[in-house]
């Protein structure tokens, strides 16, 4: 492939690339607008992350700790 041919290919890619990037991100704009319509507006005044209780393995820790605390208290109250 000589340079001129490569240049024409590069120009093609440049055009094609920008069209594709714009098309892709334009559709994403539409998608976000749809998101807003269907999922937006439900912002809670209270901070949201904290109360969501973690489950699964995390629970192991919680249980282990609470278990340990419980048992430790028991073992001390025994005396």
């Amino acid at each position: 492939m000589d340079i001129t041919q490569a240049l024409s290919t590069a120009a093609n890619i440049m055009l094609l690339g920008m069209v594709c990037v714009f098309t892709f991100l334009s559709i994403l704009v539409v998608a976000i607008k749809l998101l807003e319509r269907f999922a937006g507006g439900e912002v809670e005044a209270i901070p949201q992350r904290k109360p969501a209780p973690q489950q699964g393995i995390d629970n192991n820790i919680v249980a282990a700790i609470s278990g340990a605390v419980h048992q430790y208290r028991q073992s001390n109250s025994n005396k």
Partner: protein
């Protein structure tokens, strides 16, 4: 134009196969269960995401050299990931309640009937045309009844890699469903009076006992069931690091960063096995059905054993704690506590249920070892 055609010919739109679409919907469903419902999100979120990635047409995630291909081969085929998770779980587990009341081990043993009965059930399903479970398949499916994710993934990767995706999904889904599956069975098998039984306070356990316990378990596994030593060994290593008190920085890493890193990759790797040709089969329906059966039988046999044990025990035993013998730590112990509180608002069973709960982990690792030794050899 040539470039445009190439781009189009590479798009997902031009390459989708119906099965892939369905599997992506399955992946999205798992994400929904994980995020919106809080079903075992630590595993089901990466599994669901992995399922979506694995089914992208022409993206090559599961082809040789693809990201999920590497993760699966490095972590699951070698067995390393479930073993590392098990080490971390060991470092999180407190055996105090079990050491204080070792009888609870019988409950953890009884609940394993869920596994072995399901093995039988899986073979029985072969009478129905369309099912052709081998003994190895049946064993891998049955371990769902162990209610223990890493054990199920480890055994499935050894005995039935093709069913790994469905088995892991079933195992984690049912573990998340324990609060729904167990209470009716527990209530059906116990009287109000039995559920009201108050158990005696547990004796304090010395540090020495806690340090020696994982070594004793390992020692016995070495003597009687070497096939279970990968699982039990890594679990005991984690627990020993926790209880030894001299390597806290290793123990903390094992139960935090290391298990987190491995969990992300394990989930993706399991998800990568959720391909249409392996998952969209009648066998998956059978696995889901058998999994539910396994959990139910395990719960029932745990409760029944607790009733029997209570008859012979000097100290009272509330049969509800038997249900925790299936493991599903610590969900099953909490369910026992909750059902107990409904019967008697002053009866806190949580600590008492932790005994059978962790016994169930050992029990299903032992059961996995037995299946490996008999079927896998």
């Amino acid at each position: 134009m040539e470039g445009l055609m190439k781009l189009w010919s590479d798009t997902g739109l031009a390459n989708f196969v119906p099965g892939q679409v369905v599997m992506m919907i399955v992946g999205a469903l798992l994400l929904y269960l994980a995020i919106a419902r809080g079903y075992e999100p630590l595993l089901l979120l990466p599994i669901g995401f992995g399922a979506i990635l694995a089914n992208i047409p022409a993206a090559g995630f599961t082809d040789e050299g693809g990201l999920l291909w590497y993760v699966y081969h490095v972590g699951i085929e070698t067995g390393v990931f479930p073993l590392l998770i098990f080490m971390g779980v060991g470092a999180m587990t407190d055996f105090g309640a079990l050491i204080a009341n070792p009888k609870m081990l019988f409950l953890g043993a009884a609940a394993q009937f869920g596994i072995f009965a399901t093995l039988f059930g899986a073979i029985t399903l072969n009478f129905i045309p369309g099912f052709e479970f081998s003994l190895a398949d049946a064993s891998a499916i049955a371990i769902i009844g162990g209610a223990d994710g890493p054990t199920a993934i480890f055994l499935a990767s050894r005995l039935a890699p093709d069913l790994l995706g469905a088995i892991a999904v079933a195992a984690y889904s049912y573990m998340a469903l324990v609060p729904i599956i167990q209470p009716p069975i527990m209530k059906a098998l116990t009287s109000q009076k039995e559920r009201e039984i108050v158990m005696e306070q547990l004796r304090p356990v010395s540090k020495k006992e806690k340090v020696l316990f994982p070594l004793a378990v390992l020692f016995m596994t070495i003597l009687f069931l070497p096939a279970a030593t990968p699982l039990v060994g890594m679990f005991c290593l984690g627990n020993l690091m926790k209880e030894a008190g001299v390597v806290d920085r290793l123990s903390n890493t094992a139960q935090n960063e290391l298990i987190n890193i491995v969990t992300i990759f394990l989930g993706l790797a399991v998800g990568s096995k959720l391909s249409a040709d392996k998952f969209l089969t009648v066998e998956t329906l059978g696995i889901l059905l058998l999994g539910a059966v396994a959990f139910s039988i395990g719960t029932a046999s745990g409760v029944m054993m607790a009733k029997i044990l209570g008859k012979f025990s000097k100290t009272p035993i509330n049969p509800l704690v038997g249900a925790a013998g299936v493991s599903a730590v610590p969900m099953a112990a909490r369910v026992a506590n909750k059902v107990g509180l409904e019967a008697n608002p002053h009866n806190f069973l949580l600590m008492h249920a932790m005994g059978p709960n962790v016994a169930g982990v050992l029990g299903s690792a032992v059961a996995a070892g037995i299946l490996l030794a008999i079927v896998g050899g």
